[in-house]
């Protein structure tokens, strides 16, 4: 058991940029492409996540593996081209690893992170609500009370992805004083053990294989070994650009898959499809431009400047806008074939909607960009 928890050094050393991409490509075009419809309908592809983890796709963004955020985005883009839901799982997994490493907590950033980075254990992120809460969009759902040795957490999160019993996710709770007011927030690793009630979610219109659950916590104790950041706000401010930038891989991958679908029917339908707008070559030019922007930004994921964050929000918003247009165009290009229940274009329409509404949603991105651009004046 001890040896199983140690990093497989030999394997990790093989995570060169080229090897990672070659393996991700092989997985994406093979088993992942074949499973895309099943994943959309509800199959949680931990087998594929294991393979992606072994290939390095879930670890290379970490400092310990060279902080190759650009490569991480590329890998996610490649997989999302075949299956948006898997791209989303990769993102959830990636940011969870980011929390663990950046926490500086030895209990999270040691062997536990090695196992996570290699896809031997799995965990996601429950920060949708806190991120919105920090922007003043909605209230914080989890509450923490200080107790000897840690905190006791109560509350319910409506949907958290890439979790299951035995898995984990990063979460944030508002710390209450005795009078019920909130002093600050604490970020912790929520281990989904027997104390955690996972409740089935209503059926979503797509991406059902993301293992998304409602989480109910009742006097859940968080000890030292689970603390990611206390207080949470400075930590979140530091990792927020990387958190958002990594998602761009999912957005661009869904766009690229959609462009593939439009191109696929070009030989038989090109003579009529030329009357459509958002033609594949046009979208590809936009995709290339956005991908270049994302790769440039990925070189400095911890740049704390306002201008940097603004550009990260911009490229993320571009990703959503492009995914929506590309998916819509792919269905129009394919016509009835794309409308079949098993067809990629109709699945990607739903994936692109997810890209545009998952936190940070397109509207929140614009809200946040406007907020950043506004000058501050005395009250």
């Amino acid at each position: 058991m001890e040896s199983a928890m140690l990093a497989d050094n030999a394997r990790v050393e093989r995570w060169t940029d080229d090897a990672v991409m070659a393996n991700v490509e092989r997985i994406s075009d093979g088993p992942l492409k074949a499973a895309a419809v099943r994943i959309d309908e509800g199959y949680y592809p931990l087998d594929i996540m294991t393979a992606l983890g072994q290939a390095g796709a879930l670890g290379v963004h970490l400092d310990r593996h060279g902080a190759r955020v650009g490569l991480s985005v590329d890998a996610m883009q490649r997989a999302s081209r075949a299956c948006g839901a898997t791209g989303f799982l990769m993102w959830s997994h990636d940011v969870c690893g980011l929390y663990m490493e950046q926490s500086g907590n030895p209990a999270l950033s040691g062997a536990r992170l090695d196992a996570h980075a290699e896809g031997r254990t799995f965990g996601g992120t429950a920060l949708s609500n806190p991120m919105k809460a920090f922007s003043g969009i909605e209230p914080m759902m989890l509450r923490a009370t200080r107790v000897p040795g840690g905190y006791r957490i109560n509350g319910t999160l409506p949907w958290v992805s890439h979790i299951a019993t035995g898995q984990y996710c990063g979460a944030i709770a508002g710390v209450e004083r005795d009078d019920g007011s909130v002093s600050h927030e604490v970020m912790f690793m929520l281990d989904c053990d027997e104390r955690v009630e996972l409740r089935p979610c209503p059926v979503f219109s797509g991406m059902e294989g993301t293992s998304t659950w409602g989480v109910r916590l009742k006097d859940y104790f968080v000890g030292e070994a689970q603390i990611i950041a206390d207080p949470a706000r400075p930590f979140i401010a530091r990792i927020r650009p990387a958190f958002i930038l990594l998602q761009v891989g999912m957005a661009l991958g869904v766009s690229q898959g959609a462009i593939d679908s439009s191109l696929e029917v070009e030989p038989m339908l090109g003579h009529v499809n030329r009357f459509l707008s958002d033609r594949p070559n046009e979208l590809r030019a936009e995709l290339d431009d956005a991908a270049q922007q994302a790769q440039r930004l990925a070189r400095t994921p911890y740049d704390g400047s306002k201008d940097y964050l603004l550009e990260v929000l911009d490229v993320r918003a571009r990703g959503s806008e492009l995914a929506l247009r590309a998916a819509q165009a792919s269905l129009l290009h394919q016509g009835a074939r794309g409308y079949l229940m098993s067809a990629a274009p109709q699945r990607r329409i739903r994936e692109s909607h997810f890209v545009a509404i998952v936190t940070p949603a397109l509207k929140h991105l614009r809200f946040e960009m406007a907020r950043l651009c506004k000058e501050e004046f005395p009250a």
Partner: protein, 448 residues
Amino acid sequence: MNTIVSEWKQYICRACGVIYDEEAGDPDSGLAPGTRFADIPDNWECPLCGVQKSDFAPYEPMGAASSEESVAITTRETGVVIVGGGTAGWAVAEALRALDADVPITLVTACEGDRYRKPELSVALSQNKTAQSMIAEAASAAATRLKVRLLRNTFAVGLSPSLYQLRTTSGPVRYTHLVLAQGACPVMPHALPKDLCWRINDLVMWSGVQGALASGPKRIAVIGAGLIGCELAEDFARAGHSVTVLDVNAAPLTGLLPEKASARLLSSWTTAGVRYKARSRVTSITRNHNGERVIQTTNGETLHADLVLSATGLTTEPQLARAAGLRFDNGIVVDSHTLQTSAPDIYALGDCISLDGAPCRFIEPIAGQAEAIAHAVLKRPHPGYQHQPPVLRVKTRSLPILMRGAPSRDLQWEVVDEDEQQLSMAQYRDGAVTASLKVGQRSLELAT
């Protein structure tokens, strides 16, 4: 490709477009790979849509659109997009519309976009103006008159020159020509917190200050004795407030005026009721429990004020230009005649540009710049913009100051004429006047 494989044929379903490939067969309906189309039983159905074998036709792939090449769409008639709803932005809209009744124009502005005369901001308080009374034309009225699509309270956040795409907080906008008229914004040194110090660079900011001063005479500290600081300090004093100006230099308008001239301004302030704290660098500004602003300087001095106005200079926000890869050097670099930026079909004018490495943030050049851009965008003949140093009129009413020409720091100012009321000076190069300065005015001229 060997000959055997090349003989395999493909057939397309004319109903749904599914392709039957002889090489692949259709194992799901019992056709082994390599089953010739001719050998398929007649009752075979399309695996996708269920039509019959007779509905299939031989399929020869046409040349597909290359999957490698990228084509940015630039030819669509999307019109001119202007970023900025200030004097410069509207000047371009006016100039374009004067030349062409139909060219589509979109104006993206971070503010309301109402039109007003910006130089008035530094004299308006003592004239009891309100933000409403200063609006010469509401943005919506100007937009209707000029047939401009107006995107108000919208920030431009991203720009991809190769795609002819501007991204805003109201979504992406396509353009055939883009005009950046985004202006400049006040520089804020670290010691001056934004939530404690006002700045005045547009009508909204002015209106905020006016509101903060509305309840009666206040103690105002103005940080920076440049053009804006000096003009505003006098205006505040004239409006009945107690004003102290702090600057790192020995006299106001250092760098612009020779010592002899700034000394006159300083002595005129004694009568105008403006105090001057020379060689004062602010180290911190805080708010105390009485709500007062407490200003600490490197001289060890502590000042208390009800309102702090920062006037420490202007700068062009580089974010949009930099992210788009436009050349930037103290402002968006433009060609001094065409006003085109380093990217094709993107122009810039006004406070946001730099000409030969230097910004020129005055109202006067804007009309000429807008003219040149409008002609270039509409491909009309035009000699191009000719930059002239603008006549500089400092609206310090206790001591009006007028400067012409191109003053140089390397040249000495020489007195031309001097009496108690007026000082005239000039700079000469090779015997020719290159700049002139008039400080104060004789009582006879006051009548004008």
